[in-house]
Symmetry: C2
Subunit: 426 residues, 2 copies
Amino acid sequence: MILLKNGLIVTQDRDRRIFRGDVLIDGDRIERIGKEINEKADQAIDCTGDIIAPGMINTHGHVSMAIMRSSADDLHLHDFLDRTFAMDAKRTREDVYWGSMLGILEMIRSGTTSFVDLYYWEDEVAKAVKDTGIRGFLAWATLDEEFTTQKGNPLSNAEKFIKAHSGMDRIYPMVGIQGVYVASKETWLDAKEIALAHGTMTHFHLSETRKEVYEHQAKTGKRPAEWLDDIGFFGDESLAAHGVWLTVNEIRRLAKNGVKVSHNPTSNMKLATGGYAPLPEMFREGVTVSLGTDGCATNNNLDMMEEMKFAAIMHKAHRWDATVVPAQRALDMATIDGAKALRMEKEIGSIEEGKKADIIILDGRVPEAIPITEETVVPNMVYSMRGDAVKHSIIEGNVVMRDRKVVFDGETILKRSQELGAQLIS
Amino acid sequence: MILLKNGLIVTQDRDRRIFRGDVLIDGDRIERIGKEINEKADQAIDCTGDIIAPGMINTHGHVSMAIMRSSADDLHLHDFLDRTFAMDAKRTREDVYWGSMLGILEMIRSGTTSFVDLYYWEDEVAKAVKDTGIRGFLAWATLDEEFTTQKGNPLSNAEKFIKAHSGMDRIYPMVGIQGVYVASKETWLDAKEIALAHGTMTHFHLSETRKEVYEHQAKTGKRPAEWLDDIGFFGDESLAAHGVWLTVNEIRRLAKNGVKVSHNPTSNMKLATGGYAPLPEMFREGVTVSLGTDGCATNNNLDMMEEMKFAAIMHKAHRWDATVVPAQRALDMATIDGAKALRMEKEIGSIEEGKKADIIILDGRVPEAIPITEETVVPNMVYSMRGDAVKHSIIEGNVVMRDRKVVFDGETILKRSQELGAQLIS
């Protein structure tokens, strides 16, 4: 049992309660929350002056690309794609493993306790999840065979991956689909069938760029979200990434089918994909909108605290309305709405009795957190504090970082990923 | 003498050279830079694996408002102003001093070595500059007497402040003007006269909001920048903040007169002032554009590393062009162009022999910095790393932070600003 003593608890429960108190963890679950808990625990962590919050959930990325960080910036999209595809083709399984270790190290250090990944060689990413203690939702990317560099059929690879990793601790295998530009109707529907057969989800890029949308429309007469609805792909198990170039009609189709969206503001802005994901309309129509960093080739970091700030302020600027995406909503997107995106809202995303113990403790005595009160703590987290305020991280009841020291071998990760990364991008 | 050994030096000199080497500091100046310097120094700092860069220059803010952080977020502009003006009226000299101490602590910890401030009671801010070791360009805000809550005439206050602080170490008193909405032609011209008489600069808000621009146009028939040019206010000593709502014609007038602009992307986005400062046009016309965080009521932090990222990506998104404001340009705005904004480019803003030793050393072994090469170091600094990567800070040849420990009493700052801040915003 672990007892967190005397912190400012930002519960993210239904009432968004914030109060000073204690949290008792028993095994992998939150046992009790209260003003004062006097229980003999194996480990007590004094949280005086600190903030106790749910771990953040990053709902879209390509974690192993951390090793390709800052290697393709400030380029027009076609130049960017040429450059990253060339590097992708050179990658080895070792690169993917150490890139994932680097990305996960960065995520844990900045408060993320769950992440969604879309890539190939997800078995290497799964190894990194196992070796670090984070929670990983891993979608093996499928696409038509003519477009892939994967050995073997991507759909078979995905299914094999799911079978091999079902029921493993903190690993949730999913089916990925790259996007409408490289996947036929058959591939989309086969991917869905595999997901349903194994009780898991699909995760895919949707309407990220104008090019994607207008080329698909020219080819099929339909916009991507209309087409995916019409072919019968969409369902409660669908998690779409980006969703930038969506019409209100398409948003209604997402809502009707229970499709979830991962919003990636930093990546969208940096790639200059144009347009701003229509968040107010998605909120209005009842679409679950969560937050993702995307990969390090386009962000270039994995800091969800920064992502909350970008999400909140980019829409204010775009809509000329400072009340759009307030701080509380940004924190919701990074926590409880991330859990909803993964149909895991009964398990993670908030600090409530009976839920998994995925908890971060932030230093409330950094200058960026001051003044700290029950009213300022959420805007401070969203607008002012950085990922480095995260002192401790607990995932599935295990302390994976204590006083910013991770329990696995961080030094070797930095060393190996520097060697392999410098080689890869040279 | 201080010897920085074996770091990756991002010089920001004219050729933007980046190389591994040593930096020798003698007194307040950079004595020598080279691949290897073997000199017996009083203090040697091993920078292996680290980045040696010029300290950043924050060219617009209201530092003492750090104590009002996160107290007026997600509000329409008029509600925001009502709330902050009400708090402002309650402020004491003690609040201003401790707020400044809090803001300066935050700035030093995130790599800023020089800052520009626009507020009243600048003598309290000057005390904080003295007590911390940072470099401060302090503009006492003037405005028409009918609008001020200052005791005494604001112009006289400003002049008195300048006289009392001229020639002091690291303190550069300037004349501030709040903006066209509260200052008559006479006030603007008197402010300029005081600045010229004392060989210093003017610093003022310019065309931040639509309201400001269109109300001024309704009243005078001219847009603010046209009007300020026509009344003869503009000069080489003018440093304007924001410059959002500018026409190309106005930009040409700024360029012609040598007016400098401090761009504040985060504040502009968060306040939803609408519009995006026309950076590409300012660059094209030759206006010196630097970077500022604005105050903590509107940002809500003072992290120039985050500000570089916002500056780079907001314009990409707005222009649908990923090549706009590349990483190198963002770093320039935060360093050498900040020095130019203050007419101090021979003294600060880059690592060059003979210049003041205002230097930061960043940890190149945080995950966000990896992979690190001569090619990735600048995009890593702009797009991926955070202010917490700053390990050491040297200002005017004095180590003011070593291994993230400041040489002054940081604990008392946090304690006092928490007490006073919580009281002020309650």
